[in-house]
Symmetry: C2
Subunit: 229 residues, 2 copies
């Protein structure tokens, strides 16, 4: 039976969160036809992102009920609002009951948390929001990606590429992972090198993060209190 | 005056080619409002990609006439077909007359070549198609990205992220580039390390590349002969 790898689309996401691992897993599905990739959303209308680009899913939530894997991308304010999107959370909860991989990129893990799927798990997210994971009963971990049982969470935005390559290796072996990496020519050379976490100013972001949460969850005071108390 | 950074969308692209640098330059535009980002296409209908995801541009070609920068993403067969898409080539040629940056990711450089913009330039593309650049009068270079006058070309797919960070540094300085890199948490950790070019089997791809070209350009024998003779 074909194993469905389902990317979850909702309004306002950071598109690289989704498209990085989508490109990796689409290459897997091209090489190994026991896998198929879908992008699922509430309906098939184009959805805004945090860039001028709009994204359109290939399937509705109703059409994809028992994916082998689901991957939830993140974003900023719209992602925090999505923590209170019951139809979205409900599809994720149900799909997670049978999925072998329950994944996220960036702040997508906060949606997994809001769906109750991170309780007692090690997990990660974008560095600017890592502390919030504890509010959902998770143990925050500062790694590029973290696997704990079926739960596979990646750090911010571009980390989804690394996580997806790890997943390809796990599902189809090292040789296939190397072929996929070659296809997408993933031989990264950040012009200024990697991030120097010691010298990076991370504190400047805290008031912005707080303001985004307060704005996104203005109509959901209980959840806002849970996350900011 | 606002400087417009225009991503060029056409049917069938590899979405990571576009979304990687789009996410980087959108972060630049958020930090420095003298820049704006647009995604331009023939019209505003959702367009297929080489994944199940559809992408919708924010502007039509007619709406964006003098961009500061244009960036053309690549793909496989549909990109080779686009080398003969006259409305697309015509917009690119015209925009390139005044643009300070004429960019591409992956096989997008072959479209720049078909538009006559690579003659006498150093350029790069996806490793599987690098030889084709010479057919357009360019000197192929095996680098992550190559700048030659206004022409800025990146290697395959994921290389667009590195190229875009270089462009941010050039346009807005090192500190802004570091901030953008932090926002998208670009601290790559490929699970199997970088690509080992010495041991990678690159020759297996040649017949596939040839077959894709022949299929895409079946109706354009002159261009096909130029590229394969």
């Amino acid at each position: 039976m074909t194993k469905t790898l389902a990317f979850v689309l909702y309004p306002g996401i950071t598109p690289l969160d989704l498209v990085g691992p989508l490109q990796v897993l689409s290459a897997l599905a091209q090489i190994d036809t026991s896998f198929e990739v879908v992008v699922v959303g509430q309906d098939l209308t184009p959805q805004d992102t945090d860039t001028p680009l709009k994204l359109t899913p290939s399937h509705t939530f109703r059409q994809v009920t028992v994916p082998f894997a689901l991957i939830v991308p993140g974003g900023t304010e719209p992602t925090f609002a999505a923590m209170a999107d019951e139809p979205l959370l409900s599809w994720i909860r149900k799909a997670a009951q049978t999925a072998e991989v329950v994944g996220s990129v960036c702040t997508g893990s906060l949606i997994l948390g809001a769906a109750g799927l991170l309780d007692g798990r090690q997990a990660t997210t974008h560095w600017g929001f890592r502390d919030l994971l504890a509010k959902f009963g998770a143990t925050p971990v500062a790694e590029r990606w973290v696997q704990d049982g079926p739960v596979l969470t990646a750090a911010g935005v571009s980390a989804g590429i690394d996580m997806a390559l790890h997943l390809v290796e796990r599902l189809a072996g090292e040789q296939t992972a190397r072929t996929v990496q070659l296809f997408i020519e993933y031989d990264p050379q950040p012009p200024l090198g990697g991030i120097d976490w010691q010298s990076a100013d991370l504190d400047f972001f805290k008031p912005h993060a707080r303001a985004m949460l307060e704005s996104a969850l203005a109509d959901h005071p209980a959840l806002l209190t849970r996350l900011t108390a």
